[in-house]
Symmetry: C2
Subunit: 334 residues, 2 copies
């Protein structure tokens, strides 16, 4: 049963990935409406070999639309998502605008698919780093309650948008030619460097927004409002796919073998843990995949109670971290 679909922010990095994922998964689309700002309206975008003209987003854009994917920034979602809902659409919002609002489901389909059907017209898609961490941690949490998570991220530049990728590429060309490196939108040089995630810092906690999202969203998705989570989010000069170093404290002892057995059966997870060849999750291999790669599965030797496990994961933040997760939610809806 095909449905009418709208994509808000169709010309952005995630918007483009929505089209790719919808085509790949053969999502049953009756009419496809591509929406963007006035600046992008009139552009032509290809979908399954056909040309689509991008239309300007207005409050009247959503007549007869069944599913509206929003990925054009939080302020656009706040302004236009209510109009889409009023017109009868179900909004799947990839921004942070509504994620922490009571009554709005925040969904990773591998974790809390039941929440999808509690929507009042709006479902929030979590932050990319949150999704990539939740997919492997949740199946472990189900068999042995996770008490505490200590996470450090290695985040790709395209997480900041298509401009992040452009900035890394242009700085790389400058560095490779021995030229001075020009900063544009990132606060610091990214080629040959690493810096704290470029999101706003809460002066009260010192956590940046990316870190706060990982803490609060995980608690909501897992329905564990007191789960202990700390994160340090960092940008690295990688085009695509985030990595995360995850230290888990379980309620009861847990061996690496038990972790492997659980993860081998977990949806959305692919174990890449080849000790003999030093082959573990890498952004280069996670890029373009929907699975979260998981490896470096080790007993945390800092603890003598067997309750610690270390993992290293990598996932494509534009796919499973954004577009794929949202399309999976839509698939369950129809």
């Amino acid at each position: 049963m095909a449905v009418n679909v709208a994509i808000v922010g169709a010309t952005g990095a995630v918007g483009q990935e929505f089209l790719t994922v919808l085509a790949e998964r053969n999502f049953p689309i009756k009419n496809l409406k591509l929406l963007a700002s006035a600046r992008s309206a009139g552009k032509t975008v290809k979908f399954k070999g056909q040309d689509y003209i991008v239309e300007e987003l207005t409050h009247d854009s959503f007549k007869d639309v069944k599913i509206a994917f929003f990925s054009a920034g939080g302020s656009i979602s706040k302004e236009f998502a209510p109009s889409a809902v009023k017109a009868g659409a179900i909004v799947i919002d990839n921004t942070s605008a509504f994620r922490m609002k009571d009554g709005i489901p925040l969904v990773v389909p591998e974790v809390n698919p039941e929440a999808i059907f509690k929507h009042n017209g709006l479902i929030a898609n979590p932050n990319c780093s949150t999704i990539i961490m939740n997919v492997p941690v949740w199946p472990l949490h189900k068999v042995n309650r996770v008490k505490r998570l200590v996470i450090s991220t290695y985040q790709a530049v395209s997480g900041a948008g298509a401009w992040g990728l452009y900035e890394l590429e242009s700085q790389m060309k400058q560095a490779a030619s021995g030229l001075a490196v020009t900063k544009e939108k990132f606060p610091h040089q990214i080629v040959n460097n690493v810096f704290a995630h470029n999101s706003k810092i809460d002066p009260a906690t010192g956590y940046n927004e990316e870190e706060t999202k990982m803490v609060n969203e995980t608690r909501k998705i897992f329905a564990e409002p007191k789960m202990m989570v700390t994160a340090t989010c960092v940008r690295v000069p990688v085009p695509r796919a985030h990595c995360e170093s995850i230290n888990i404290e379980f309620e009861r002892p847990m061996t690496p073998q038990q972790v492997r057995e659980v993860l081998a059966k977990a949806p959305g997870v692919k174990i890449v843990d080849d000790v003999a060849n030093n082959h573990f999750p890498m952004p280069l291999e996670a890029s373009g995949q929907d699975d979260v790669l998981v490896g470096r599965i080790r007993q945390d030797i800092s603890r003598d109670d067997g309750r610690g496990i270390d993992l290293f994961v990598s996932g494509d933040q534009v796919r499973k971290g954004a577009a794929t997760n949202a399309v999976q939610i839509a698939e369950r809806l129809i």
Copy 2:
């Protein structure tokens, strides 16, 4: 009182940095002997404007040498350091050959300078990641015992040797020109990628050697044989200076303000923690410095007992992580 100095591995990345640091710090050298393999013997190396001919390392190289810096790999140290000691030299060994041996001091001068004088001719210089983490953690440990450390590293390619830097640069040129990237010595592509540290993995624990060093060396240097330490060591496409995300669990509550006060007075530490401008420790700024940059000083919000602190640090692994630390040991000896 000037002394005779020998450098074993004089043509390597760390050997070259020894010369830079000895010159900068005006170390009182009477005669300087540069030693390397037969392959490098005969090469000319500059020190303070003068040319020195590299000599082939033999068991007879150490007559009248007072201080011998070794940085030519563990097997060279194992074979030749005993000859240097027998000839009356004090060896400061930058390899891992003797670090964990009983009776051999393993020294970070800011942490355990008293151990220097317990030597029997040989003093071990710790692993670079260990030094960079120990310098800021030790002064905190002195005021509030550290119970547990969870560390994730972001390590520069030059930590692998001068070839690592060459490999990143040549891969960057290929990537910037749109050419296929050629792997040489690293197990995986490093440009545009991140991978688990390229050291041997202990199949029993799953920890790689870099991680095991961070755990065991810290316990020895701090004289805390049961300190809980876990580490995940990762290479990033950065030429120089390692970063580390450090989660600390203290015995008693500790506020970020208390941490700042302690670190502001700590030797070898520079606080870079500008929340308003999102300016924190970065390899680009740590490169070429002896201080370890420390920032992202936050209360770990995963804990409700106030005993957790998160930090992000960056230090030049060729300087404080190797050459500078060794020269500081030598300065205390003479």
